[in-house]
């Protein structure tokens, strides 16, 4: 029987995974937007990006708020500890979120090409930087650099091997996911040339990300022993699933079966992120605070589970409806 504390932590972590998959896919589209080329050549790609994430980016983004809220409500002291220690990468990520969201909305309704280009560059750059900083935050927690009492080192807490690799892997997985989804969108709306282009880029991004993950294993095992132990032990199955799913995605992309490739891509990202969570269990802040010790009042945890239950009933069905619509034929036709 799962304890109350762990149930809440699990609910919070579901939010992390959802944000990584859904938010990740739309952060990653910034990579393709930025590298689409000149305004004439890249127009088709940018229109596709706009069309693909336009209806969903705000909803996808709410997962982050969900995670923050559960964290500060369920585990208030550890939240304050992480915030005071990781103030810099969090502020940088926040800056990215602000610039990206605003400029994405502005670009859609720009009057001139000049405006659209300015907003577009801000959107795309911020979309790449934001997951990097969020990745460093994950690395900081996973490598035990957030002290229980807070106010850890402002710089070394997130400028270290685990954090840097965490950031790079976050950027890579976001771009990979986005590539797969954009390729499927392009193929669905019969943009063959664009789908080909995306296929090639996604294959490269996927391969590079895979290599980065493998390379990271060595320094991370030195730098974050508790995490590595967990990854090799309790979370090993998830790591294997992730690797297999990643490979399957690459193969399906290669075979141009775009719509099918979306599923293993989601599994690959979801399982690698879950792998991190399972590997650092039972720690909330690795080597510092366990989940059970970090939890706030039981009455609050119960109330939070009520909120989570409501979310399942109230939020998930319309969210599924929205995602289904955006992945459907009729919404793909312009």
């Amino acid at each position: 029987m799962m304890s109350l504390e762990v149930a809440v932590a699990a609910a919070m972590f579901v939010g992390v995974v959802a944000y990584a998959v859904l938010g990740g896919a739309d952060f990653g589209s910034g990579f393709f937007d930025l590298t689409a080329g000149s305004s004439r050549r890249g127009a088709e790609m940018r229109t596709l990006v706009d069309h693909s994430i336009g209806p969903v980016w705000e909803a996808n983004h709410v997962w982050l708020i969900y995670v923050l809220v559960i964290w500060w409500t369920g585990f208030p002291e550890s939240f304050a500890a992480a915030m005071t220690t990781l103030v810099l990468p969090l502020l940088l990520a926040l800056l990215g979120i602000v610039l990206r969201g605003a400029s994405f909305a502005f670009r859609k309704y720009s009057a001139t090409l000049g405006q659209a280009r300015l907003f577009g560059v801000i959107f795309a750059t911020a979309s790449i930087l934001t997951p990097f900083f969020l990745g460093t935050v994950a690395g900081a927690i996973a490598s035990g650099r957030v002290p229980a009492e807070g106010v850890g080192d402002r710089w070394s807490s997130w400028l270290n091997p685990t954090s840097i690799f965490g950031g790079l892997i976050a950027v890579g997985t976001c771009a990979f996911l986005a590539g797969v989804f954009l390729a499927a969108d392009a193929a669905r709306s019969d943009k063959v040339r664009l789908a080909e282009d995306l296929r090639l880029r996604a294959l490269v991004v996927g391969a590079v990300t895979g290599v980065v993950v493998l390379v990271a294993l060595v320094p991370v095992s030195e730098d974050a022993p508790t995490l590595s132990e967990g990854l090799a032990g309790r979370a090993a199955a998830l790591v294997v699933v992730s690797a297999l799913a990643g490979t399957a995605t690459l193969w399906l992309l290669w075979e141009r079966r775009y719509s099918l490739a979306r599923w293993p891509a989601v599994v690959a990202v979801a399982s690698v992120v879950s792998g991190w969570g399972v590997a650092q269990y039972p720690w909330l802040l690795v080597d510092e605070v366990r989940i059970v010790d970090a939890a706030g009042a039981s009455a609050t945890l119960q109330a939070l589970l009520v909120a989570v239950g409501l979310a399942v009933v109230v939020v998930l069905p319309p969210l599924a409806y929205l995602l289904r619509l955006t992945q459907s034929e009729e919404w793909s036709r312009h």
């Binding site: 909803a59 809220v69 208030p76 909305a105 090409l113 609050t300 969210l319 619509l325």
Partner: protein, 485 residues
């Protein structure tokens, strides 16, 4: 007013303890003060669009449908920047106030969780609604606004629950400095939540109603007198009217009992230096060295309004220790600005409907249109003033009677840099929004309906050509419905 505010600022600088407190407060003030305006649009705009869209469908009215469509695009831009500025706030809760969140996070967090849910619902249905134009059966499409409107209301309630809790803490006990016996539901449904929520909810309708009506008043001033402008004016103006006439009552109810709950705040609102029976109503004036200067005093009225009595005195500042007083002048002026502007707006809508009932139409009068065109900014000013009055008036407490604001702030250096950066980013975001919204309006006036984004030089060229070749008249509702993005 300025010297008084300056004096308060100096007092603030002189008394703040941790290095991070003052910039943290300014940072919160800037980001929250900015967000609160957009939040109003998230709360009130869906209901106005719903009314307009329903009219369009029921009466097969192409003008109403076109307005609903345009408003939905405006709301998309505002909602997007509201979403990011709201995210800023959720980070700032932890970054700026670790003392508050670390100690009371599990007491006050629950309403935030429900707020997150309602925001989720709103974001999802906004996505469906915006992209549903021309892609969904009209009857189902218009229904997508209903959950948005409801979510806006629930979200307002939740956010105000947290604020009301800070003003009237409930749902926990403090034993030897430890927070125990936490009941998050009692914290959420504290004594003040319903009235604070009502006050803010109505305020949102005032802000959005007057702002949108003002846009069409400007159009009428420039000689645009078509059905589009008439309808675009009257629907938000009706919302604004109901809100402006309701607000004084809600505000008065909210103020009831303030003498017992937060006497220092009430004394500051009323600029009561000493406890007098009966108390005068003080208009204007500043509080310097324990005395009130330059105010216009109306005898007895202070007791009548604040205490609902002919003789009960408003508690005076002299009864409150200096370290427990809020910045008096700022609180007083903010409160009076809110009340003054609110009264002006209520009077103006009353005048409009009264004269209309007598057969005279103020929309023919340029002075009235000019007034309506600044009524939106005035409502925003009243909103900000009201918020300053309640928040600054609560100082020096962040959790009234339990935690002082200085205990909640983090001990950072460099927060001034953060504040500077935030000011620059928010200024840029405001400028971007203004540029984009103005260009949308301009292109709509020029006859474009779909506003394709120019991602390539070619697209721009094509767009200009279609513009030049034909400036299409208003389309029929059938075409509009089948109109793809």
């Amino acid at each position: 007013m300025m010297p008084a505010l300056l004096a308060d600022t100096v007092q603030l600088v002189a008394t703040v303890e941790p290095e991070g407190l003052l910039p943290a407060r300014q940072q919160m003030a800037l980001s929250l003060g900015w967000h609160i305006v957009l939040a109003c649009f998230g709360v009130a705009f869906p209901a106005m669009i719903l009314v307009m869209h329903l009219r369009g469908i029921r009466r097969d009215d192409p003008v109403a449908l076109e307005l609903a469509k345009r408003w939905s695009k405006v709301s998309a831009v505002l909602f997007a920047i509201g979403a990011v500025s709201g995210t800023v706030l959720s980070f700032e809760m932890g970054l700026l106030w670790p003392g508050l969140m670390g100690t009371y996070g599990d007491v006050l967090g629950l309403p935030f969780a429900f707020e997150g849910l309602s925001f989720f619902v709103e974001a999802i249905f906004l996505g469906i609604y915006l992209y549903g134009w021309g892609r969904m059966p009209p009857k189902r499409h218009v229904l997508m606004l209903v959950p948005m409107a409801i979510a806006g209301v629930v979200g307002t309630f939740c956010v105000l629950a947290v604020n009301a809790w800070m003003n009237a803490p409930a749902g926990f006990r403090l034993v030897d400095g430890q927070v125990t016996d936490i009941d998050p539901w009692a914290a959420m449904f504290n004594d003040q939540v319903w009235l604070q929520f009502a006050h803010m909810w109505v305020a949102a309708y005032m802000v959005v109603g007057f702002s949108v009506a003002g846009v069409y008043a400007v159009g009428m001033l420039r000689g645009r007198r078509d059905e589009h402008h008439r309808l675009g004016f009257i629907v938000p103006f009706v919302f604004a009217t109901v809100a402006a006439l309701t607000q004084p009552f809600v505000g008065h109810l909210l103020g009831g009992g303030l003498d017992e709950r937060q006497p220092a705040k009430l004394a500051s609102f009323e600029l009561a230096d000493t406890t007098e029976s009966p108390s005068p109503l003080r208009i204007g004036g500043i509080y310097v060295d324990g005395e009130v200067r330059g105010s216009i005093d109306i005898p007895v009225l202070g007791s009548v309004i604040a205490m609902s009595s002919l003789s009960d005195p408003v508690p005076g500042l002299d009864e409150i220790p200096e370290e427990d007083r809020p910045p008096v002048n700022l609180t007083h002026w903010a409160f009076q600005s809110m009340v003054g502007i609110g009264t002006l707006l209520a009077a103006s809508v009353s005048l409009f409907w009264f004269l209309r009932w007598r057969g005279r139409n103020l929309l023919e009068r340029r002075w009235f249109l000019r007034f309506v065109s600044i009524s939106g900014p005035l409502a925003v000013l009243a909103l900000e003033s009201g918020w300053i009055a309640t928040e600054v008036g609560r100082q020096p407490w962040i959790v009234y009677g339990f935690m002082r604001t200085e205990e909640a702030a983090g001990d950072y250096s460099g927060l001034w840099w953060l504040l500077g950066t935030t000011a620059v980013v928010y200024a840029a975001m405001t400028a971007g929004a203004v540029v984009v919204l103005r260009s949308m309006a301009r292109r709509w006036r020029a006859g474009e309906t779909d506003l394709p984004s120019p991602y390539a030089p070619q697209t721009v060229g094509e767009r200009t050509n279609t513009l030049r070749s034909s400036s299409p008249p208003l389309r029929s509702s059938e075409q509009l419905r089948g109109d793809p993005e």
